[in-house]
Amino acid sequence: MSEEHKHPSVDVYLRVAAALVILTVLEVGVFYVPAFRPVLVPVLLVLSATKFALVVMFYMHLKADNKFFTFLFGAPLLLAVGVMAALLFLFFGALTLRGAAGAG
């Protein structure tokens, strides 16, 4: 099975690069524009997730490649995100102004 022929053209690569630049400009913009403060976190997460996905799908070729590679990367990625979420949840209540866990 040769995947070499399915690689995107240079044109696609350039357009992805342009998108990455624009998204980064938006990210920095959102950071500096005070009006966006209330929605800063979700907007930034969406923008950076989009950049992440673009690089992984097109530059790392995951979109066109065998789905097994998506599993090899995606499953541990999901696990890492899950662990991160669990830790944030576990610590959110534990570390309060009263000090380390055990105070409550």
């Binding site: 696990l79 534990a94 105070a103």
Partner: protein, 602 residues
């Protein structure tokens, strides 16, 4: 095709069979070291107010016993079978990356030597002998492990040694995942793989996802101890609980890494000696996969006494109880495999059945731990020590011995003595129950873990004495095994291709196999290729002589050279000399570059 002999051929080997044997002998040696540590512990605890060893020495003993058994004995013993048997079971000539395989072994050996050197090098640190071995428990809880409370090099040996060993396991993990998925013989579909290979695959995924987490935790500890960081320092706003989370996020998948291979061995052994296929193969495989996934969701059941709060405690209690389900399913499938089978009571079968019984007991005590209120009584007492040893000794060790007696003929060309094997089994079985069963009571009567002595008033003196007697009985059993091994070298019955009537591919080739394994790679058409079933006849074994010369890759020095770089680098922080890092890094880099550019055809 004759094989190269001599020291050089072993130092440069890239043959999975040789590497499997290297793993076996090294790991078994470390098992004996860990066992000696256990005997010293039990001798100290045989009576109240024991004086055999000081408290400081005792701390080192139980720390090294745990660390050695988990990382230097059980994991590598499993690895010896991953190495030797998996390529044979899938019909391959070797693993996907033979030099990476050798690298994993050398890093393991060097890491184990590094860790155990701590027993002897006290004088180099201006301390006595037997003074600088790791002493913070195998789980190294912060903030005891901070420089402030553990000023000596003990914890440094521990964290550096574990980092080295982690690299060995990770490299092997990537290797075996690719091997099992990509190097199977034609027709060897995933659902035709022997259960041992399936459990190996799940284990490798657990390794490559769990080890990075403890790597992070150890890196934090290293920076705290050497560079004044505050990852676990309360006064800086941090919390030692972070260590516990990171450690157990690794530690719980680690216990499944320890048990799944043994479960795989048992799943292969039982059908052979019941002359019946594994009952519910598909269910057993999926249960193994499920255990792998669910193993990630239970880690804080090791932290029920830490004050996580009722929500966290309840969630982890629920997930922990749930994970007993796929495990229980496997047990029923094993029993059903034996039921109605034509049983041959070989030593391997004894160990496999012993595994089932002992693992049930260990699993039951585990289920009692799943309840936070109950666990609050049990945690940090000998009740937990009982649980651990029923699942790891009664489980993993018995399972590994089943594999040893089962695959010894394949790996060495001789059969271990069955009568001696039975003696070994019964002495070990009785010994372990004498050693560990009383610990359930000792713990509930109030004896904490990790104390070097106890008062006679506690009322556990007699039970401790029984436990110690059991431990020494285990030692006798192991001596019987060693005698069996030694005797078999010269007087053991030579083994045919298939002394047991096994169903999987490893039994279709000579014992031991030729260096190329299969003279012709077989085409697989069923899950039980070597058996006659209602659906198919037995496969044709590969011919005795290959029809054409088979290319076998040569050896390489570079895995060993690269591996040497790691403990050298680890010496730098221990000796507080920066330039040593560069020497080690240079060794590593030279080894990697020469490895990458040498001609090596798989």
């Amino acid at each position: 095709m004759s094989e190269a002999r001599g020291l050089k051929s072993w130092l440069t080997t890239t043959d999975h069979k040789r590497i499997g044997l290297l793993y076996f002998w090294t790991a078994f040696s470390f098992f004996l070291v860990g066992g000696l540590e256990a005997l010293l512990i039990r001798a100290q605890l045989a009576q109240p107010d024991g004086h055999l060893v000081s408290a400081e020495t005792y701390n080192q003993l139980f720390t090294m016993h745990g660390t050695t058994m988990v990382f230097l004995a059980l994991m590598p013993l499993s690895a010896s079978f991953f190495n030797y048997i998996v390529p044979l079971q899938i019909g391959a000539r070797d693993v996907a990356f033979p030099r990476l395989n050798a690298f994993s072994y050398w890093v393991f050996l060097l890491g184990g030597l590094f860790l155990n050197a701590s027993w002897f090098v006290g004088p180099l640190f201006r301390a006595g002998m037997l003074n600088v071995a790791p002493d913070g428990g195998w789980f190294g809880y912060a903030n005891l492990t901070e420089r402030q409370y553990s000023p000596g090099p003990n914890i440094d040996f521990w964290l550096l040694g574990l980092q080295i060993l982690g690299i060995s396991s990770l490299a092997a993990g990537f290797n075996f995942i690719v091997t099992i998925l990509n190097l199977r013989a034609p027709g060897m579909k995933l659902m035709r793989l022997p259960t041992f290979t399936w459990m190996t695959l799940v284990t490798q995924f657990l390794i490559i996802t769990a080890f990075p987490v403890i790597t992070a935790g150890l890196v934090f500890l290293m920076f705290d101890r050497f560079f004044g960081a505050h990852f676990y320092v309360h006064q800086a706003g941090a919390t030692p609980i972070l260590w516990q989370h990171l450690f157990w996020l690794f530690g719980h998948p680690e216990v499944y890494i320890l048990i799944l291979p043994a479960m795989g061995i048992v799943s292969d052994v039982l059908p052979t000696f019941a002359r019946k296929p594994l009952f519910g193969y598909t269910v057993v495989v999926y249960s193994g996969i499920l255990i792998g996934f669910m193993g990630w969701g239970v880690w804080s059941h090791h932290m029920f006494s830490v004050g996580l709060g009722p929500i966290a405690d309840s969630v982890f209690a629920a997930t922990t109880m749930l994970i007993a389900v796929p495990t229980g399913v496997k047990i029923f499938n094993w029993i059903a495999t034996l039921w109605g089978g034509a049983i041959r009571g070989t030593t391997a079968l004894h160990f496999a059945v012993g595994f089932i019984a002992m693992f049930i007991i260990g699993g039951l005590s585990g289920v009692t731990h799943a309840s936070p209120p109950a666990d609050l009584q049990q945690t940090d007492t000998y009740y937990v020590v009982a649980h651990i040893h029923y699942v790891l000794f009664g489980g993993t060790i018995l399972g590994l011995f089943a594999g040893i007696y089962y695959w010894w003929p394949k790996m060495t060309g001789r059969l271990l003595s069955e009568p001696l094997g039975k003696w070994h089994f019964w002495l070990q079985f009785i010994g372990m129950n004498l050693a560990f069963f009383p610990m359930h009571f000792i713990g509930l009567l109030g004896m904490p873990r990790r104390i070097y002595t106890y008062s006679a008033d506690l009322g556990v003196s007699d039970l401790n004495l029984v436990s110690t007697a059991g431990a020494f009985l285990i030692a006798v059993a192991i001596l019987v095994f060693l005698y069996n091994v030694w005797r078999t070298r010269r007087h053991g019955q030579p083994a045919s291709n298939d002394p047991w009537g096994g169903a999987s591919l490893e039994w279709s080739i000579p014992s031991p196999p030729p260096v190329y394994n299969f003279s012709v790679i077989p085409t697989v058409t069923s899950r039980l290729p070597r058996w006659r079933t209602e659906l198919h006849g037995p496969m044709q074994d590969p011919p005795a002589v290959p029809p054409a010369p088979i290319h076998v890759p040569g050896g390489s020095w570079w895995p060993l050279v690269a591996a040497l770089g790691l403990p050298v680098m680890a010496l730098a922080p221990l000796t507080h000399t920066l330039w040593v890092v560069f020497v080690g890094a240079a060794l590593l880099l030279v080894g990697i570059y020469r490895w990458a550019f040498e001609p090596f055809e798989v």
